[in-house]
């Protein structure tokens, strides 16, 4: 499934952003190492080996109970009826009791099996869903920027759903099919070696059919999985951008675009169903021809006297049942191909290595040198570029002493955000180290890292849940008092208190609308609550009004005291609270000094500052 690589554009994105998506991302075919799909399925089932065995045993017994029927019929005809004619009721009573017992056992076993199988299935799905989710969360930010939320949703919903179908129906089908093939073949062979052998021989053409079906349906399902992911991506994008969709009258254009993707899914789906039709016709033809042939031969042998009538009757009953499961085999193959295509996609996702891995041997930050919460930050020979080449930040050194507030200014694309992301360890440097009190960030486990560094970005996303939940994201164990204190400190308390249910207002429910500025205040409260040694603010006040911004700055004045802070701002008002200003341009730090010094000088910052003063008018 590898396509020739398209001419990759010179991929250094503008503004220090990840490069244009490469082909595998574009076409939603992330490579998985060979055998990864099977390995994934194995690893999912391995922990349940014992339970799978028990479940299979239940099914085995259930099938034995069910398949005993024709045998008992044969026995009734050949033994019980003559015995009855001789006045012996024993065999018939035995047959009746046996059949009844089989029926009851069959039902009970069926019940036990379905429950046991459901537990196995659900545990496998729980495991798989969890793996996808955890892995996706562990992958770096730049991965998410390329993979899109829609695809990830597709992986954890429709693709998991495929596996669910395989497990809940398919696996039962498979076991039933295999068991009844084996069981009935054995019965036939036992009843009559010749008839049995011919019946078994008919599996040859059936196998060929299955093989061809697997190949062709597999391709169709692969296309289908990709197609539904594309549909989901478009769907999510439209729903999340519904305002501009409306305002710019995109409805008709979107309908058309969606129709193309939807149609692609429809075709793939139809192709897969047609393959199934082909398989069913073929396999039925083989089966029914075999039945006709066997009956003919059997009848001749009864006529010859080499075969008992009862045996032929039982054999005929078994024969019909021998081929009954081929439809179910088709269903299994159907679920299997669909699940295999999905698992391949999931395996491709799981095979993505986090570019910002957690340390195998985590270290702890040294104890704080003083009572103040801040820590020293050192960029030691750090350089950063994307894998595809193109240097965003050339090698540089920078030391930020504990407790210092540093403002980083510069035009869009100067590398400010990249600097911040390196410090927050959203990315790892391509060369050099970022040290926090002398400890490499790469050696810190996530909880330790986030006690050290927290970043507030300009996108103030709120999660479903209450306002309090959203603030508590900064420190889940925080009490309500602490949450409110953080909100008050940042000036968010008043608006939160005015919401219908105050802090318990669900942000998605009735009356829970929260403006962009208010969302930023919530993010701030979140950061305050997290109480990190180093706080990074990336344009975190862009949507606040001036009094709001002032209030935040005043709060920051006290909050940042003793803390190390890196503040990225377009608004130079933020600089007022800074001890030091870095001016960046083209990925380099071109000016570095105290605000007063820089303002008084003749450099870029002095220019910027003048422009800003004028803008305040």
């Amino acid at each position: 499934m590898t396509a020739p690589a398209t001419t990759a554009p010179d991929t250094d994105g503008p503004d220090g952003r990840p490069p244009a998506p490469d082909d595998s991302f574009d076409r939603d075919v992330l490579p998985a190492p060979p055998g990864a799909t099977a390995a994934l399925l194995r690893s999912l089932l391995a922990p349940m080996r014992a339970r799978v065995a028990v479940t299979s045993l239940l099914l085995l017994l259930q099938q034995a109970a069910v398949q005993a029927g024709p045998l008992l019929v044969a026995y009734a005809l050949d033994r019980a009826v003559p015995a009855l004619r001789d006045g012996d009721h024993g065999p018939l009573i035995a047959v009746g009791a046996g059949y009844l017992l089989c029926a009851l056992a069959g039902g009970a076993l069926q019940y036990a099996f379905i429950r046991a199988a459901a537990r196995v299935n659900q545990d496998v799905l729980l495991d798989l869903r969890g793996r996808i989710f955890r892995h996706a969360q562990a992958l770096s930010v730049d991965f998410h920027e390329r993979y899109t939320s829609g695809r990830l949703i597709s992986r954890s919903t429709t693709d998991v759903e495929s596996l669910r179908e395989l497990l809940s129906e398919g696996l039962q089908e498979l076991v039933t099919v295999v068991l009844s093939f084996v069981y009935i073949s054995a019965m036939l062979l036992w009843l009559d070696l010749g008839l049995g052998a011919v019946a078994v021989a008919s599996f040859g053409p059936l196998y060929l059919l299955v093989r061809s079906y697997r190949r062709r349906a597999g391709q169709a399902y692969g296309r289908r999985s990709t197609a539904i992911a594309a549909v989901i991506v478009r769907f999510v994008e439209t729903m999340n951008g519904i305002r501009p969709v409306r305002a710019f009258r995109r409805e008709a254009v979107n309908d058309a675009g969606f129709a193309v993707l939807n149609h692609r899914h429809e075709r793939a789906n139809g192709d897969a169903l047609l393959e199934m039709a082909r398989y069913v016709t073929g396999s039925r033809l083989v089966a029914n021809t075999a039945v006709a042939g066997l009956v003919l031969w059997g009848a001749y042998r009864v006529a010859d006297g080499t075969l008992a009538l009862g045996v032929l009757a039982a054999a005929v009953l078994y024969l019909r049942r021998l081929y009954d499961p081929i439809d179910r085999l088709g269903m299994f193959l159907n679920s299997y191909q669909s699940a295999a295509a999905s698992l391949e996609k999931i395996a491709g996702l799981l095979a993505q290595v986090p570019t910002v891995p957690e340390p195998s041997v985590p270290r702890e930050l040294p104890p704080l040198a003083s009572d103040l919460p801040g820590r020293e930050v050192v960029f030691d020979g750090v350089a950063f570029g994307y894998r595809t080449g193109g240097e965003v930040l050339p090698r540089f050194d920078l030391t930020i002493p504990a407790g210092q507030t540093v403002a980083v200014v510069g035009s869009t694309g100067a590398g400010k955000s990249t600097l911040a992301k390196l410090l927050a360890r959203f990315y790892d440097p391509t060369a050099g180290r970022v040290l926090l009190d002398g400890t490499d960030l790469r050696d810190l486990a996530v909880p330790e890292l986030r006690r050290g560094v927290v970043m507030v970005t300009q996108e103030a996303f709120l999660f479903s849940g209450t306002v309090a939940d959203n603030i508590a994201l900064g420190r889940p164990e925080a009490t309500r008092e602490e949450i409110e204190r953080a909100a008050k400190a940042i000036g968010a308390h008043d608006f939160v208190a005015a919401l219908p249910d105050g802090y318990d207002t669900d942000v998605r429910k009735r009356g829970g609308r929260i403006s962009a500025g208010q969302r930023q205040l919530v993010s701030f409260a979140r950061a305050l609550l997290a109480d990190p040694a180093v706080l990074i603010l990336d344009e975190a006040t862009s949507s606040l009004d001036i009094p709001g911004e002032r209030a935040v700055q005043r709060a920051m004045g006290t909050v940042l005291k003793g803390r190390t802070a890196v503040v990225i701002a377009h608004r130079l008002s933020t600089v007022e609270i800074a001890d030091r200003v870095l001016v960046m341009e083209g990925g380099r730090i071109v000016e570095d000094g105290s605000p007063a010094d820089l303002t008084a000088g003749t450099g870029r910052f002095a220019d910027l500052h003048r422009a800003w003063r004028e803008s305040l008018a």
Partner: protein, 631 residues
Amino acid sequence: MTTTPVTATDTTDRSAVRTLLRLWPFVRPVRARLFTAAFTAVLASCVALVIPLVLKWMVDGPVTDRDPAGVWLGALYLLLLGVAEALLFGLRRWLVARPLSHVEAEMRAALYRRLQRLPVSFHDRWPSGQLLSRGTTDLMLLRMFLAFPLTFLLVNGVTILVGVVIMLAQDWTLGLVILGPAVPLVLTLSVFETKYSAIARRAQDQVGDLTTVVEESVLGIRIVKGFGRHRSQARAFHELSRTLRGTELHKARLLAAIWAVIVTLPEVAVAAALVVGSVQVADGELSAGTLVAFLSTALALRWPIESIGFLLAMSQEAATATERYFEVMDEEPESDAVADPRAVGAAPRATGPRTDRPGTGAPAAGPGTRPRTGARTAGTGRADGLRFHQVRFRYPDAPPGTPPVLDGVDLHIRTGESLALVGATGSGKTTLTALVPRLHEVTAGRITLDGTDITALPRQQLRSLVAVAFEEPTLFSASVGENVLMGAGDDAGDAELARALSIAHADFAHTLPEGTATQVGEQGLSLSGGQRQRLALARAVVGRPRFLVLDDPLSALDVHTEAAVEAALRRVLADTTALIVAHRPSTVLLADRVALLSGGRITAVGTHQELLRTHAEYAHLMSGAGEEDDR
């Protein structure tokens, strides 16, 4: 963090059949094929039932009589019937393969179409994960329902009926014995149906919740990472998946119970028939061949009967999926009916309250004021600009008793004038701007464009008159050029694109890997907030709209870029009627006048300088005065 399931509209009368009947409009176009397929399936099943009869005939006739010709004939019949069965099976699947995929696709397209046209307030309430799960898993369930349970409930019903008739015809006592468990079976099934449908609904809603968490965890990935919260996110996700697992296990328990009943009861009947039949054979009342055929028929009916359990389960799930689907489809879309024809062209009420001249009197002659006359007009009315008359607004879903967001807004933006809207965070500025393109509907009062009530204009026309740049600059999966040009008519081309990009100072677009053909949006190159904002601005101005609504359009720009954009924007604003939400003096200065929104009303209108001098609240908002001056 928990997601809130969208509560099911509680229909007390939840008849699965009635719910499923709602699918008819979608199934209608493919009804011919579907019915043919069902007929084919019935035929195939009947053929399958005839095969045992041929076997009986062979055993009782030619085999017993040692008649080779008869044996050959019987085998030939068997072969023919077998081939017919195979072809009919295949035909059935071939008939429905494409049409059913088509029905699924049509339903998805209809859902998407409807969702795009539902009021914005609907989208505020519904997490997109819930919508998405309706558009994917629910529709797949429906396709499967149409493919199997629908046909096979019919087919199996007919098969069972025909089988029973055949059995009764062969031997009516044995037939009655077989029919014995029918009544208890039906009773059990109806109990099961009710229980199962409730639990199936719960499971489907939980899948929607799960989808929402996945989506949010990706959309909010920077926050999750920034706070190192991916473990607690994973825990929250794990909790939800565990809940779903519990529901699924509950479902499985029900299913297991019903299967057990369905499997056991008929087998018990077969056991009884076997005993009774054997006695009859022994007594010579019944031929051995008849008993073989009878039991063969009974066994052939096993699968149809057993399958009823899961067919019903699937139908239940399909019914809940249908219910969930129509919950969305039943929502009223924005109607495109022109509300009140009398309003068309109506001049603004001369007696209406006029607060557009606060204190300071006549249109203030600030440095940026450029009164204009004779500009183009929106509708048939005269050039009257944009007016808000006593506009009140509260969100339709706001709890009763909460004060309205906007409570009597009166505002007049003259033709060609640009007006900045200033207000504290959360004062309703964004809400006010959303009313102009009718993303939300005013609760009371009216908004007029050149004297025409906006409710009297078809939405499409209204939205082509008013261009908006949102606070949150969303780009779609399309090229940069397409993203910008979606703000203009179809005739707009490269010249307009270049002009708009230069106004928004978005010339960086030309330096992207593939220039303005570079793909952006979800599946394309990700751009910075400032870059996206500038493209959104270019989109708003590219069509040279009559009315321009800009919601804090420069918030993510740095000072230099902002200054450059402002300079270019001033030229555009010179002949556009514009409402600009502003947080900063620099943005306010783009406008001719400023209006202050406070407590749901416009409390002051004037030039920036005037208000700065005369209005304390405004001065506070613009300079943070009260603490320290801004130097």
